[in-house]
């Protein structure tokens, strides 16, 4: 076989492989979008839908817009349906929880990573290792203790008790160790010479940290923010135990609530999934270069 032909064949084969995998990746998303636009509560299973089966009822429901539903086809009797609370609230709660915890995580793990990367102190190595090992204790199994803690805190301060968003954020804020390692890995690659010369010019330690190291490390903070954001968006078990009433639910808890054992509201779920999943997906894809480099640098430098 001629080499050019061989190369062409190889390329065709590669495209075929990639296209088939991409298809497998995309089908679920297409199906869930279709299901959200389809009349009735059908699970995501169709790639096409007839125009007369299209309906915006699920979207109106999750956006909290009132709409009329036919109750009795014979008499033409209708009723007005409006979600209460609107599932849009869960998306907002999720964004609030994820935004606040990711910001807090950046703050806490960034300062800690600075100490580990630049300062020398007793137990430095042991604390660093202990953080990583102790975090291996799965959060799910801490639920009893979380319950006890938040219940106690709530008896004195309603705002951070059970069934509150600040309480959930407080728990999420503890997930810092992987991020400390990642940020520390990045700090280690930034040469300390600039900070040293600033110190000689009379800047305090804190000033060199805030004015010099932080601006140079913006990419890694973007990565940590995005990764924590996605992680907290997807967190289900802790949120489902801490948040008990539907007005405090996050997207994950609310989405699952549409799929009861007896009656699965697939259409409504699909609309909520698209509504809640789309923005974060877009943001992620826009920042994917950042994220990809962060994952590899953080992982390699451990």
């Amino acid at each position: 076989m001629r080499p050019e032909l061989k190369l062409k064949l190889r390329k065709a084969l590669a495209h075929l492989c990639l296209i088939s995998i991409v298809t497998l990746v995309l089908i679920p998303f297409v199906m869930v979008t279709i299901a959200s636009l389809r009349k009735g509560q059908f699970p995501p299973s169709a790639l096409f839908v007839k125009p007369d089966q299209l309906s915006l009822e699920h979207w109106k429901f999750v956006l909290g817009i009132p709409y009329r539903e036919l109750v009795n086809p014979a008499t033409g009797e209708t009723r007005v349906i409006q979600a209460s609370p609107s599932p849009l609230l869960w998306v907002w709660n999720s964004v609030l929880v994820s935004g606040c915890s990711s910001l807090g995580i950046i703050l806490l793990s960034g300062t800690a990573a600075y100490a580990f990367a630049r300062l020398r102190f007793k137990f430095r190595g042991s604390i660093l290792r202990a953080l990583l090992i102790l975090q291996m204790f799965p959060a799910v199994l801490s639920l009893v203790a979380y319950y006890v803690l938040l219940d106690y805190a709530g008896q004195h301060f309603r705002v951070i008790g059970l069934n509150t968003i600040p309480g959930l954020i407080a728990i999420y804020l503890a997930g810092i160790s992987v991020n400390i390692w990642m940020i520390k890995g990045y700090f280690d690659t930034v040469p300390a010479s600039m900070e040293e010369s600033a110190r000689i010019d009379g800047a305090s330690q804190f000033q060199t940290f805030v004015r010099i190291l932080l601006p140079m490390s913006a990419p890694i903070f973007a990565v940590v923010f995005i990764l924590s954001f996605i992680y907290t968006m997807s967190e289900y078990p802790v949120a489902s135990v801490v948040l008990q009433t539907s007005d405090t639910w996050t997207l994950a808890v609310g989405a699952n609530s549409f799929l009861y054992e007896q009656e699965k509201l697939w259409g409504t779920f699909s609309a909520l999934a698209v509504l809640g999943g789309l923005p974060i997906t877009i943001v992620f894809l826009l920042c994917q270069r950042f994220v990809a480099s962060g994952i590899t640098s953080g992982a390699v430098k451990e």
Partner: protein, 510 residues
């Protein structure tokens, strides 16, 4: 005085106030802990020798509260008997005995229940033999909760002659069983002369006496029939002279009994071993499968002559970008045995339609497939980074020998890329070992394991433990905590190993 001092004061003063509140509300241990934290914080931010810790302190507090405390709490619970039949702490179980009373044949009273507003009530009593002796209670609430804290008896006062009871009394049929009668019967009332009375039957309150007398050695004597019970801390029950259990169980320290149960009790051991091996198999296959697909795609996309590489890459990352809870739930619909898209497609091709929900291996295959879909993009990203660090010159030599890409990959690329990947693979293994959300939302552990109690065929150790602790029937916190502790040791060891591996790698690189 610098800004730092002002800030420290601004944190310490409210902190001390909180500490005071905690102490006065009766939680001395919490107050002590808080005091230590405040003291430590003040020292760290005021003394220059502790300067480095200033950057660590806030993060470590949160970590201590929500990671270390739960861990220690779990280890502690794993050493105790704590389950649905041993729910109360010892002093609460004891006070349940102390609450019991019996009718000692004294006076009896007719009663009226007078609602006051929404939830409050007054009790009005009239002595049967001497109707001029009338009593009225202070306002109280009636809650239908099953096991609230032990309540003090409600005090009654003598009513002046001629005074009318306030409000309209409820008629007997209005005193509904669940909402009013049962809560009322569970309460005790105290007459001004110190007589204890409680509702007996439907219509009457009678004078009563405490049933159990406390003895100095911790045992209790039944004043009605003279029998004796004493707490048996190894069983977590009160037992009588014949050794029979009396009353409800309480939490008790048992040492390693829960751990021993995992090894010796066949009802626990059987499911535990099976779940353990499935957990390992699941994690290993997820890592190997994810790595294989991820590496394959990374290598393909590394091929500079291929067109649309960036488009492919963007689309292939999608499963990582979408919140995984949503994708897992979508897959739950796609893999639905009867109506799901997967089986409809397979039936359309006249292939077999696997039982994704009822067959154990079908369910396991589904979990693995979904996890591969979720997990390969991460591996792809990591492998892409690794491939970039491979110098292209090494291929030139082999190209002259006329090699093909496949042998190039296995002979040259893989040996270079694999060693630095090991820590990531171990971390990924540990992550999947505890992949709660996937299994819980996709199958909830089902189908049930035959003869395995609450264990399911697709349960991972972490979901099994969760079910042991939180499923409403037969919750066993002690056993669940023991398994959780074991689980932590397994995964903690992996993490420690991982640190050793990457430390060695650094040394080799240096």
């Amino acid at each position: 005085m610098s800004l730092r001092h002002v800030l420290v004061i601004l944190f310490v003063l409210p902190g001390l106030y909180l500490d005071f509140l905690a102490y006065t509300s009766g939680s001395a241990w919490v107050a002590l802990g808080l005091l230590i934290v405040i003291g430590l914080g003040a020292y760290i931010y005021l003394d220059d020798r502790a300067k480095a810790y200033r950057y660590l302190f806030p993060g470590l507090i949160g970590f201590g509260l929500f990671v270390i405390f739960p861990l220690l709490y779990t280890v502690f619970v794993s050493l105790t008997r704590y389950s649905s039949s041993h729910l109360l702490p010892y002093d609460r179980a004891l006070s349940l005995f102390q609450q019991e009373t019996f009718s000692n044949g004294g006076s009896s009273y007719n009663y009226k229940l007078l609602p006051q507003g929404d939830a409050a009530f007054l009790l009005y009593l009239e002595e049967e033999k001497n109707p001029s002796r009338r009593f009225i209670s202070e306002p109280f609430e009636l809650n239908a909760k099953a096991s609230g804290p032990v309540e003090e008896p409600i005090k009654l006062t003598m009513m002046a002659e001629g005074a009318a009871p306030p409000g309209q009394p409820l008629a007997l049929p209005q005193i509904t069983r669940q909402k009013l009668y049962l809560p009322l019967r569970s309460r005790h009332f105290l007459l001004p002369d110190g007589t204890l009375i409680a509702l007996e039957g439907l219509q009457k309150f009678t004078a009563r006496q405490r049933l159990w007398k406390n003895n100095a050695d911790g045992s209790l004597t039944n004043l009605q029939d003279g029998s004796m019970v004493r707490p048996d801390f190894s069983q977590g029950y009160f037992v009588n002279q014949k050794g029979e259990k009396v009353g409800v169980g309480f939490r008790a320290f048992t040492g390693i009994e829960n751990y021993a149960q995992i090894v010796t009790d066949p009802r626990i051991q059987g499911p535990f071993v099976r779940i353990f091996f499935w957990t390992i198999l699941f994690s290993a296959l997820s890592v190997v499968g994810g790595l294989t697909i991820g590496m394959f795609l990374a290598v393909l996309l590394d091929w500079t002559e291929l067109r649309f590489r960036n488009l492919y890459r963007t689309l292939l990352i999608l499963p990582y970008a979408v919140p995984s809870v949503l994708s897992i739930l979508i897959f739950k619909g796609l893999f639905n045995q009867e109506f799901g898209a997967v089986n409809e497609f397979l039936r359309g091709l006249h292939l077999f339609a696997p039982e994704w929900e009822t067959n154990p291996w079908g369910a396991r295959a589904m979990i693995l497939l979904v996890n591969l879909w979720l997990g390969y993009p991460y591996m792809m990203l990591v492998c892409t980074g690794m491939l970039k660090s491979v110098p292209s010159t090494i291929y030139e030599a082999s190209a002259m020998d006329g090699s093909n890409p496949l042998t190039d990959f296995f002979r040259l690329t893989l040996p270079l890329v694999l060693p630095p990947l090991v820590p990531i693979l171990v971390a990924s293994f540990a992550f999947n070992f505890n992949n709660f959300t996937l299994v819980y939302l996709l199958t909830a552990g089902g189908p049930r394991m035959i003869g395995g109690g609450i264990a399911g065929e697709t349960d991972l150790l972490v979901t099994y433990t969760f079910n042991l602790a939180f499923r409403d029937s037969g919750t066993n916190y002690g056993l669940a905590s023991a398994i959780a502790t074991l689980l932590f040791f397994i995964v903690g060891t992996l993490a420690w190993l991982n640190l050793r591996l990457s430390a060695r790698k650094r040394k080799v690189a240096a």
